[in-house]
Amino acid sequence: MPAAISTEGLVKRFGRTHALDGLDLAVRTGEVHGFLGPNGAGKTTTIRILLGMTRADEGTTRVLDGDPWSDATELHRRLAYVPGDVTLWPNLSGGEAIDLLGRMRGGVDKKRKAELLERFDLDPRKKARAYSKGNRQKVALVAAFASDVELLLLDEPTSGLDPLMEEIFREVVQEISDRDGRTVLLSSHILSEVEALCDRVTIIRAGRAVESGTLNELRHLTRTSIQAELVGPMDGLAQLNGVHDLQVDDGRVRFDVDTDEINPVLRRLTEIGVRSLVSQPPSLEELFLRLYEPEAVK
């Protein structure tokens, strides 16, 4: 199956700053793809390029097998977009905005719209200027989910939603992914959301992808922390590959080990003799913190 989105070597400069600096991104058809990175990493710029609103200075972009810059209108019939900060026409009601955006995209499913309004608990009669940020976000979400499209581009779509609504959002994304087989590119900072929804993720930093893969694959990139009480002298531990931050304290050791070097290290520990052992798998938080840090890109 062809990729829903693929970019190679995207470069986008705004004056002297490089918003994107050789970004590669591949989203397979039918998957929910997490798009993560610190603020200012270039996520929104990438999504604008995918929408054909911004033109990349270098590199190639394919969206649904088309060129987003030259085929924008045709492609937009097949995709929906939710920005992270939704602004609406102050004197239009939410319902009017939903129907307007839906119709301009090619049609609104009335039943689906009513169902989504119900689930997101949104009063469509209010004027947009009376909506809170979360409610404006819901307007854009309902408009996107009520459209019959192949691809959804969601740019931090849940900012401003309460936890209850966040839960509804997850349900709906899961439905459209499992039941309808739609492709979703989800830019997000909420790790639990990413963990719950995404098949694969791409992490970008300073305009380039630093990691891409399933969450399990990414976990291998990080370190497991180990605490152990040992029987014998702890010689040679520090010299083993993949051991970091070793602390020794009266028969107890504490260190981090690269997840793919864990076997030889455990073997060495059992050779010395283990009285007790606590191993902590890397949390997602640690994974992201490490990848977000400036040193992560060498």
Partner: protein, 528 residues
């Protein structure tokens, strides 16, 4: 005075944001005003020539009655429209720093810091009133430097600043009424326009011994004018204006207490749950219809007003044999009335170009507010989106001009008993302004297409044309300067001979510039 805490900081913020535009309009208006002394002194050296020039009914409608034949009085009279511009700038400045801030949400950000409830309004007013004061002082010094009496120079400063103050206060009240900055602007400009129309109608009626002279007394613009600088300098009228300004400001602060931040006094009603709009054009209609209606009504009123007074020009001629003789040299009564109506048409065309630019800039407003993005992420192409708004910036002025032409034709036609003849003539004359209006709209499109961040510079088009119109109306101006304005190239209608060439050339220029702008829009990043 806790509610005013932080006002000083906000004033500095306003001065920082307006550091270019604020000094610019002050210096520009002072410079133009002072330059009139030399120019009009040379052009009309004798009191007789001044009185003769100022007795034209059309001029009285535009500027009011001349208070006396001295150079100072004559120049003050000829500058009669500038205080209205000061009022317009003042009310826009106040709304820009109050309601616009609230609507954008920035007020909330500041409001959560150590900033009192009234600080925003106080800062906006203090800055605007202060700017008017600076304008008044510079103007007084400038006028006095041209060897005009000091007392009168101070008085004309008060005329300018007083009008500015009053309408700054009007802007402050309007900003409290609605949650939308656009509506607030509409209300305040409506009050300004109303005040001008009252003065124009009252003064015209007074000059022709009509029954409506009292209308002028209702107009704050007339109050300021009747300070009569260089004549009897009626300072007490300055106090009247100051007192009404203070009263309006008090009302504005009272209203501000009665509402929440971000809300207006007029409540928001619920809208429909389902929309009927489904195309960019339907959306554009929704966004532009209020503006279109307001301009059309305003233009119709202008047309009625000018059409109604035009006949007075003929009346005056019948009464006064010496003027009659002069007019006959100029081509008879019809020639004079036609030249008056043609001048009116140029004025109406200039105002229509401001509407054209305003409607075109809606594109930029949609873009920079982020509302263009969701539309362009649907199956709407950039050109479709742009075209949906340009329909209104190109045809909107046409509708408004048509309204002016119809109203003027009816008013004048009824007055002289020749509706059938005058209606088509004046409709034609009004619509003849369109090519020039479109050139200025096209320039706005091009700036938006290529230099979106500089979109506001599009206002330079109408501003420069209005200034050229103001300056060159009586004063010798270099030909190339007058040629900058597309309105210079239009034939003088009604009355003049119309040839196709200037229209076609202007249309071609508009087309080329506008299309270039659309190409620029297609090729650039969005939002930018």
């Amino acid at each position: 005075m806790k509610s005013l805490a932080g006002t000083g900081g906000l004033i500095r913020l306003i001065l920082r944001r307006d550091r270019v535009v604020l000094p610019l309009w002050i210096v520009l208006l002072v410079a133009i005003s002072v330059s009139y002394v030399q120019e009009y002194g040379d052009l009309f050296p004798t009191p007789e020539s001044r009185v003769k020039y100022a007795s034209n009914v059309g001029f009285i409608t535009l500027y009011g009655e001349l208070s006396g034949p001295s150079l100072g009085e004559f120049v003050t009279w000829r500058l009669g429209f500038v205080p209205v511009m000061v009022g317009l700038i003042s009310l826009l400045t106040v709304i820009r720093h109050t309601r616009v801030e609230e609507e954008s949400g920035r007020r909330e950000l500041l409001g959560a810091t150590v900033v009192g409830r009234h600080a925003q309004l106080a800062a906006a007013l203090a800055t605007t009133l202060g700017a008017n004061l600076v304008l008044a002082v510079l103007l007084a010094l400038g006028m006095h430097s041209q060897d005009l009496p000091l007392s009168g120079s101070i008085a004309i400063g008060i005329v300018y600043a007083g009008t500015g103050w009053f309408f700054a206060a009007v802007g402050a009240v309007a900003a409290q009424l609605t949650a939308s900055a656009g509506t607030a602007r509409g209300i305040a400009i409506g009050v300004l326009g109303g005040a001008y129309v009252l003065r124009a109608a009252g003064d015209t009626s007074a000059h022709t011994d009509g029954p409506l002279a009292w209308l002028s007394h209702l107009s704050p613009i007339a109050w300021a004018q009747r300070i009569r600088p260089y004549a009897d300098n009626r300072w007490w009228l300055g106090i009247v204006i100051l007192a009404s300004t203070v009263a309006l400001i008090t009302i504005a602060f009272q209203l501000a207490v009665r509402r929440d931040v971000g809300a207006g006094l007029l409540p928001d009603r619920l809208g429909p749950a389902d929309g009927t709009m489904g195309s960019p054009l339907a959306l554009a209609w929704r966004l532009h219809r209020g503006l279109l209606a307001a301009w059309t009504v305003g233009f119709a009123l202008l047309g009625l007003l000018f059409g109604g007074v035009a006949e007075g020009v003929g009346d005056m001629m019948r009464d006064d044999p010496s003027i009659q003789e002069m007019f006959q040299r100029m081509g008879g009564a019809a020639g004079l009335i036609d030249s008056f109506l043609a001048g009116v048409m140029t004025l109406v065309g200039l105002i229509a170009s401001a509407y054209a630019v305003q409607a075109t800039l809606r594109l930029r407003v949609e873009e920079s507010s982020g509302r263009a993005e969701p539309v362009l992420a649907t199956a709407t192409s950039r050109w479709q989106w742009a075209a949906s708004h340009l329909v209104f910036s190109l045809l909107g002025p046409a509708v408004a001009l048509l309204a002016a032409g119809v109203a003027e034709g009816l008013a004048y036609g009824v007055a002289i008993g020749d509706v059938g003849g005058q209606l088509p003539r004046l409709i034609g004359a009004a619509l003849a302004q369109l090519p020039a209006v479109w050139v200025l709209a096209a320039i706005a499109i091009a700036i938006f297409g290529f230099f979106p961040q500089a979109s506001m510079a599009s206002w330079a088009g109408p501003t420069v044309c209005i200034l050229i119109g103001l300056v060159s109306a009586g004063v010798s101006t270099a030909g190339w300067i007058r040629d900058i304005s597309p309105f210079t190239h239009l034939p003088s209608l009604p009355g003049g001979s119309a040839q196709a060439a200037p229209f076609l050339v202007l249309l071609a220029i508009a087309l080329v510039i506008g299309l270039a702008g659309l190409v620029g829009l297609r090729r650039r990043d969005l939002p930018a």
